[in-house]
Symmetry: C2
Subunit: 237 residues, 2 copies
DNA sequence: GTCATCATGTAAGCCGTTACATGATTGC
DNA sequence: GCAATCATGTAACGGCTTACATGATGAC
């Protein structure tokens, strides 16, 4: 799960751990405040697994001359380091880059329809956040699977609530609010699905077809279709 | 957390493990499908800790319609069961009853404002579900603490979203929907808080005061004030 | 010169999961 | 007799948390 999130962020650009945490929190709202005790080991695992590689700026081992990373923060750090003391690199700040193998792992994780965290809210939110890397049909499957889950939960809840219904006001309010939230989530997903169908049509009739990946132009039709969102609750402290 | 849920259910009535799971799922919607691998060890811990005690099956009153028909096999089963463990009922069900010590533990857990799971959605939902066992001021604190958390997350998200905002449509939709859900949650909590204030007033002006526990009569003023609910997402598979 | 922030990591532990193993009861 | 459901448990593991330890950089 966390690996998936990290790889997703690294698909876009090279980042160091601290920055990854920030992105996760601020940008996606997922893993609201993932702890370092969980983040760094995950990065180590990914590195050992060959999915990412650390580049530049390490204190201990001789990582050679600081390479031009192309990332803003990387170059700023390099500049600062050079200004302060040309011989010695800035402490730590291990910048990671995703490898080709990592990209393959990412696609596999993202598309996997079973396994750890593939059917909870967080797992869905995460996958949706990176849905642009998913081929259109997989994207649709993701949405429809989620929709089915939510719908099922809703009917189950209704069945249980309709009969007995001897809940006190607090529990009742809780259940009602949960139900309403789920309903809203479903109609949100429905809008996303609809937008997806529209996109599929305009793709077949439209100009080009790229091999599964969405290219650059958002801002237009798809964008306007989509509003709203699920109970994600990254939370944590 | 799970202990809290179990104790809360046992406050109401004696139950066996399998039934506890069912209640958690169907009635509260919390811990949507808590696994037995987690439930039974929890019950063991509680028993070891003196919070609950296993009692022989209480046949008639405890939700067990199942009439005895097959006398021969039934008695054989009873003999086998009794030989294996005295605390076990005829059908191998271990029915648990909460102890006085368990009630104390429950109140402590329910009221604790820090510690494991006291500030996530699930922890809040759980506590709210048992809010009737909480003294009025503690109930209010619970709601206000939750409100503050949600409000803070909201401002943080807005800060992060307002500036950069170079998200693709999928991530954007996710963030927007999350934000809306949080807003709805906040106004739900606000309604609960308002209802709580009303109750407090009608309590001081009203007839009796009981020592913290709400007595029997819901259905009236408080009930009508409350509608809606948070992103709980018990989920699981 | 000290404090806040940035930055990386380790160790212990909690809380839950899946997978496995077992047995009783009911309905056909 | 056999399958489905009810019912209880154990073992291994997963994923994330807290608490701890370390060190650099910049601001005042």
């Amino acid at each position: 799960m966390l690996e998936l999130a990290i790889l997703g962020l690294l698909e876009d650009q090279e980042l160091h751990g601290y920055e990854i945490r920030k992105r996760l929190r601020d940008e996606l709202g997922l893993f609201s405040n993932i702890s370092f005790g969980s983040l760094y080991p995950a990065l180590s695992r990914l590195e050992r697994g060959g999915a990412v590689q650390a580049i530049g700026e390490v204190g201990d081992d001789a990582a050679g001359p600081v390479p031009m990373t192309g990332s803003l923060s990387g170059e700023r750090a390099a500049l600062r380091a050079r200004r302060a003391s040309p011989a010695r690199g800035r402490r730590g700040r291990k910048v990671y880059r995703i490898t080709d193998d990592g990209r393959r792992q990412f696609t596999a994780l993202l598309g996997s329809e079973s396994g750890a965290g593939s059917e909870d809210a967080r797992g869905f939110g995460l996958r949706l956040a990176f849905a642009r890397y998913l081929p259109p049909q997989a994207r649709l499957r993701l949405l429809e699977r989620r929709r089915a889950q939510l719908a099922q939960r809703l009917t189950e809840t209704r069945a249980a609530t309709g009969a007995g219904c001897r809940l006190d006001p607090y529990a009742r309010s809780l259940v009602e609010h949960t139900t309403e939230s789920t309903e809203r989530d479903i109609s949100w997903i429905d809008r996303l699905i609809e937008a997806e169908r529209v996109r599929a049509v305009s793709d077949t009739t439209g100009p080009s077809e790229d091999g599964g990946r969405i290219s650059s132009e958002w801002q237009t039709d798809v964008h306007r279709e989509m509003k709203g969102m699920t109970q994600m609750e990254g939370e944590a402290r």
